[in-house]
Point group: C3
Chain length 159, copies 3
């Protein structure tokens, strides 16, 4: 059999549709017994935010970012045809109609399949996000850890 | 010589300029005897739409998506400086001036070079796109087929 | 030890945050002794523009593109929450606060670490950019040279 194949995804984007694509590929690769890592950086970190407001001590800029960015996967907008939130409603409608999975469901499935979900600590600092605000059972690392995974990766994507 | 090299591209974007980049890399790789696959998903499917309106039975949401999305490569907008359609005109102008290839020409060339053009069936369902609306001589597959190609790929990109 | 690992990045995007991600990964990979290439194409070329206006003979379209596109890394906008230039100010503020590196500093560091910075000659022609306008000590090449690097790459990304 040899070593398992590896898939790594940098999820930079904070768009619902792009994050869906990332998690669909990740779940597919995990089903094929790949070792899969999603490294969430910049706006991609929003997919890992908890929906409920967690009161934390923050500076002014950190509060601003915290308020302006979507709180969790379900609140994210589309990369195209967002139409002030109407586009995401349409997408969620057709997902339901076709019995496909929503982004929060895809994330849950990824966790069940042991996809390694990593939050980029450097961009957490920049955007003022703290561990208490993010999902449980994720890992925290920097670009060095990402590269250590990716340099042996069979499929490496930046989304 | 060994096995041929492989290039796979996920074309997620529905932007004219990003699709141009995807097809330029694909055509270049095909010229270097790579086996090349472009897997069109989400808005990238629009590059495969036929220009003419094909009357088909569709539900309300599917009709909405069908109307709002560009019908074919030539109708797509730019990722930057779109300016309500003025940007694409500028790009097409300079393409002509420099004897470069337009996106429809790049797609035609890819088909002549046997680049495998695949439409993602799952997102076709979501966006309500049917086979009758898409170009001839393309393939239909899901994420499993993409991963089977990509895991042996030398160059794998998400665009 | 064997051959050094290789990282290649196509920088298509002209966004400050995406270019930051590209250069952070590139600098990280260079620190791990990878051979690193960033291939700047389309709007990504703007990261290589000099800040000062260089008077050059140009046609009408080329002048238009030249005026509309940001002149250098420091002038680039954000992919999200740009808010007419307020977003970049916020990002630069938090970068300073956390002693992180700005995009111009990351580019300088990449040059010091011998990251190969390449400008795509085909899209330079399309956008009317000339060598006199770009940074010193960069290389000029087309898609063939990119593919020659990428087909042996361990980590290949499109940003």
């Amino acid at each position: 059999m040899g070593d398992p194949k590896k898939t790594t995804i940098v999820l930079f984007s904070g768009d619902y549709d792009k994050a869906m694509a990332a998690y669909i590929i990740a779940n597919g690769a995990a089903a094929y017994d790949h070792e899969v890592t999603i490294f969430h950086t910049f706006w991609g970190l929003n997919a890992l935010r908890q929906e409920t407001h967690i009161p934390l001590k923050k500076g002014f800029m950190e509060k601003m970012f915290g308020k302006m960015m979507p709180r969790g996967a379900d609140k994210m907008g589309l990369s195209k045809m967002n139409f002030a939130g109407f586009g995401p409603k349409m997408i969620k409608e057709v997902i339901k109609k076709h019995n496909a999975m929503t982004l929060p469901q895809l994330i849950e499935m990824a966790q069940e399949q042991d996809v390694k979900l990593v939050a980029c600590t450097m961009t957490m600092d920049l955007l003022g996000l703290q561990r208490e605000e993010l999902l449980d059972n994720i890992e925290y690392a920097g670009v060095a850890a990402y590269l250590a995974d990716a340099q042996d990766g069979n499929v490496n994507l930046f989304i």
